[in-house]
Subunit: 191 residues, 2 copies
């Protein structure tokens, strides 16, 4: 069966929860790993057995997101252009994040307040871009078109997501994403 903890269950989840709370209360830098572990009823050493470093605790969901994106590209109809496939994937990812709602906003607030966390987020996005490009190549898209389409998709996502976070009562993510894709098309056409 799966590796469920034997003692108090869900040690990883408790660590995630404790970390997010403390990062929100005191800020990322002002929080020590020892404090996180203590709040979760564990030790510092155990924290590092579950997460590679102090930042990674905020980025657990990125694996799921990557699968979602890759599957969406793979499942796009044969007739779809590369950009169609990317747009479909980005939209589906947007929907996923919209479901997380308030917790997504909290997470972004923590990240926005700290440069180290922004670095980590950027490399996660780069990883998503690489996965998208790879998925396009499996559809037969050549380089550099695959990488460019992937990077453009991630750029659209970044911008639409920031807009969604800022406008609290605004429109849903999907619409912002579609609008941004149109905007990108218009901008790149102007040469």
């Amino acid at each position: 069966m799966q590796g469920m903890g034997r003692w108090e269950p869900n040690a990883r989840g408790r660590l995630e929860q404790a970390a997010l709370e403390l990062y929100l209360e005191r800020g990322f830098e002002q929080t020590t790993v020892a404090e996180i572990a203590k709040r979760a009823g564990l030790t510092e050493r155990t924290f590092f057995r579950h997460f590679a470093d102090k930042r990674e605790v905020l980025f657990w969901g990125s694996g799921t997101l990557q699968e979602q994106l890759v599957n969406a590209v793979a499942d796009a109809p044969e007739s779809a252009t590369p950009m169609d496939a990317i747009a479909a994937a980005i939209e589906s990812a947007g929907v996923l994040l919209q479901l997380r709602g308030e917790s997504a906003r909290q997470r972004q607030a923590v990240i926005a307040a700290n440069t180290e966390l922004q670095e980590r987020e950027l490399i996660k996005l780069a990883s998503l871009s690489a996965a998208l490009a790879e998925a396009l190549r499996r559809r037969g898209v050549a380089e550099p078109a695959a990488s460019l389409a992937a990077e453009a998709g991630i750029a659209v996502f970044k911008i639409a997501y920031v807009r969604w976070i800022d406008e609290t009562g605004g429109p849903d993510v999907s619409r912002l994403i579609r609008e941004s894709f149109d905007e990108l098309k218009a901008v790149t056409a102007g040469r």
Copy 2:
């Protein structure tokens, strides 16, 4: 006058040199700041007076690059579209990097071998993107067009630069950049 050191001159330059050498010889993680300082004839504490952290020593040039990009956007003719201005800026930056030639390749080799350094590079690129977007806004370009054009330009730059690094004897950067812009236009048009 400028702040030239009073003792052995150019302490910062010696630290840069020593760091690059050691990163190339042993790798970034296997090098301690104490070793860098010793090779430069200084102490660890002095290293941190010149560079915010162990990674920053590899990214000194990024300030110059940012100025170059911003100036190029500002100097683009009135008639230029946003994407024209961005393309001109990216090309001028490419030329600048091509001048650094071999040392640019060494630097990229070190960065490519280490995830932390890639994180730092990505946030520098994000900073360039923000500066480009700001420069476009000063030309009267509205959001989100400004940010999208800037992000697209940086995406093109990333991809063209990687290609240039890989193909040792290949064409010059400018041509790769122009080709990538054309490719991006074609890809985004397909929807």
